[in-house]
């Protein structure tokens, strides 16, 4: 009991700052679905776009976004906030999910089937065209960084595309800050070198067309 009714709840929203991630997460972790819904509203667009930027595929990004939040909920006892924000954690989960793409989709297959079964909205032709254009553009961008290994791609995506600080990226990746810094430096250097045609530098890992979809042996 003691919960605010709709009216006072509304008033709170009007007069107070929106609750911090930490507060919402605290409530969500204890089973408050609305609090988790609010976190979804707050961060799903970022996660969705990050997944898109790593896959160049909007519909895959949509599924992956669902999986990131379901995984975060499923493993809620292990979630750690970083600088009061859930976002670095979400980026970290997204990284894992992207690496284990097929396995993640399989694990949450039933749930994803249920979402797909929900009625689809009327397709807006202009929006659909914009999505298609972005996919082409993104594919070209991914092609151009393919010479980087997966870890360097990830750091580049987080620090340069997503604008995360070194510390946030380190929290997301679970590596020391120095590692982020050196990977990013290496990535930039390789991209500069990459302007030259030579490619046989021993880093063949990045040459695979499906770098992001490698499944880790378990």
């Amino acid at each position: 009991m003691g919960e605010p009714n709709g009216r006072t709840g509304h008033k709170q929203v009007m007069t107070n700052e929106p609750p911090a991630d930490a507060e919402l997460w605290g409530r969500a972790r204890n089973g408050d679905e609305r609090a988790f819904g609010e976190l979804f509203d707050r961060h799903s667009r970022t996660v969705y776009n990050y997944c898109f930027r790593r896959t160049a595929d909007w519909s895959a990004a949509e599924d992956l976004t669902s999986v990131v939040f379901m995984e975060t909920w499923r493993r809620r006892s292990q979630v750690r906030l970083s600088a009061d924000s859930l976002l670095p954690w979400l980026y970290g989960v997204a990284g894992n999910v992207l690496r284990n793409h097929r396995r993640s989709l399989r694990r949450h297959g039933a749930a994803l089937e249920r979402v797909r079964a929900l009625p689809a909205a009327v397709d807006d032709a202009a929006a659909a065209a914009a999505r298609l254009d972005a996919e082409h553009e993104m594919r070209a961008v991914l092609d151009s960084i393919r010479r980087l290994n997966r870890k360097d791609q990830e750091v580049l995506a987080l620090c340069v595309w997503e604008g995360l600080g070194y510390a946030e990226a380190a929290a997301a990746l679970g590596v020391p800050v120095g590692t982020v810094r050196s990977r990013l430096a290496r990535a930039r250097k390789r991209l500069r070198q990459g302007a030259e045609p030579a490619r046989a530098d021993g880093h063949r890992r990045g040459d695979r067309p499906t770098t992001l979809y490698t499944e880790e042996a378990s």
Partner: protein
């Protein structure tokens, strides 16, 4: 082509119209209905037989005779008329007798989850450090998770001296029955009536968390005082205590004779005799900030809980402990795996 700046992605976009709402709704559904990992329809034995047993003991609630399968082992044994509080008191005594492990040890647990709408049994094994300093390991559905909160993605080879994990046993719970009862009513989340919320909270906590013996004892004893909690059935395999609301019964299962806690289950059950006061429907349309989701929830008239439309007696979800003990360490062969 590439100068000093790395290639940049195109501008961010929103999800296509309506998809954000759909994804959000789906996530909420997952949270509220599938707090446990998925599993598959299990032909639980003994429900039909338990209905007969219901005639023997006044305290037993007759279970609709709709068990999809009947196991010859599942029949009732010596049915001793008991009430839910009596069963829960015995369970509390059993829980309280459990020895406290030493700080450096591990709690090992193996469990199985099943759900009626998914085709697999999900097996989990976990080793949690008693004081939280050691690295933990959880293997769930074949996937391995190292638990070491001091590092976001730890590798066992690099496990630091103190993993910063929470202790294996939850220490935040009261160990006094009255305090536990108050805790359940105060802390239980959700819009349901308080009595349902409190019991559901018990169900949620014991389905997965490791409770210190005293806290588990207090929790079972407090559960016996909650309205609507009844003895459901007694079979050779388990004694089930549950509370039914909106078409779904959430059960706690105990081992006959020893009253050891075995796991939890939810079962479709149309019994409407328990009519708690207060609270709201599980999915109040007002809970949806998105108009589309609100319209959909309202159209569907979500007053029943997930799975309530299944045949009475259908087990919807179950989480059963298959093994639990105190061990000194994570077995070395588990540490070596990639």
């Amino acid at each position: 082509m590439i100068d000093q700046t790395p290639p940049m992605p195109p501008a961010r976009q929103d999800m296509p119209a309506g998809r954000h709402a759909a994804r959000r709704t789906a996530l909420m559904t997952e949270m509220s209905t599938r707090r446990r990992a998925p599993g598959h329809r299990l032909l639980f034995a003994g429900l039909g037989a338990a209905a007969l047993a219901g005639g023997v003991a006044a305290a037993l609630v007759a279970v609709p005779d709709a068990a999809p399968g009947t196991d010859p082992d599942g029949g009732p044994t010596m049915v001793v008329p008991m009430s839910a509080p009596q069963v829960l008191d015995r369970a509390a005594e059993t829980a309280a007798r459990e020895a406290e492990p030493r700080p450096g040890q591990y709690i090992y647990r193996a469990a199985e989850s099943r759900g009626f709408d998914t085709p697999t049994v999900v097996r989990e094994q976990s080793w949690y450090s008693v004081n939280g300093k050691g690295i933990g390991l959880k293997i769930e559905g074949g996937q391995r998770f190292w638990v070491c909160e001091a590092m976001a993605r730890p590798a066992p080879a690099k496990a630091p001296a103190d993993c910063g994990n929470d202790p294996a046993y939850r220490r935040d719970l009261p160990i006094d029955v009255k305090a536990m009862r108050a805790y359940l009513y105060q802390k239980a989340p959700g819009p349901m009536p308080p009595d349902v919320r409190a019991y559901s909270f018990v169900h949620e906590i014991v389905s997965g968390a490791r409770l210190a013996p005293a806290a588990q004892a207090a929790m079972f004893k407090a559960t016996g005082t909650l309205p609507g909690v009844k003895l459901v059935e007694t079979t050779k395999k388990h004694i089930a205590v549950g509370q039914t609301w909106r078409g779904v019964r959430e059960e706690l299962l105990f081992e006959p004779g020893t009253y050891r806690f075995l796991g939890t289950r939810t079962v479709a059950d149309p019994d409407r005799s328990f009519q708690p006061k207060g609270g709201k429907d599980v999915a109040d349309p007002k809970d949806f900030s998105d108009p589309e989701a609100r319209a959909r929830a309202s159209k569907e008239g979500r007053t029943a809980r997930y799975g309530a439309d299944q045949r009475p007696g259908t087990p919807l979800l179950s989480w059963m402990i298959t093994d639990q003990r105190v061990v000194d360490a994570i077995p070395p062969e588990q540490l070596k795996k990639p």
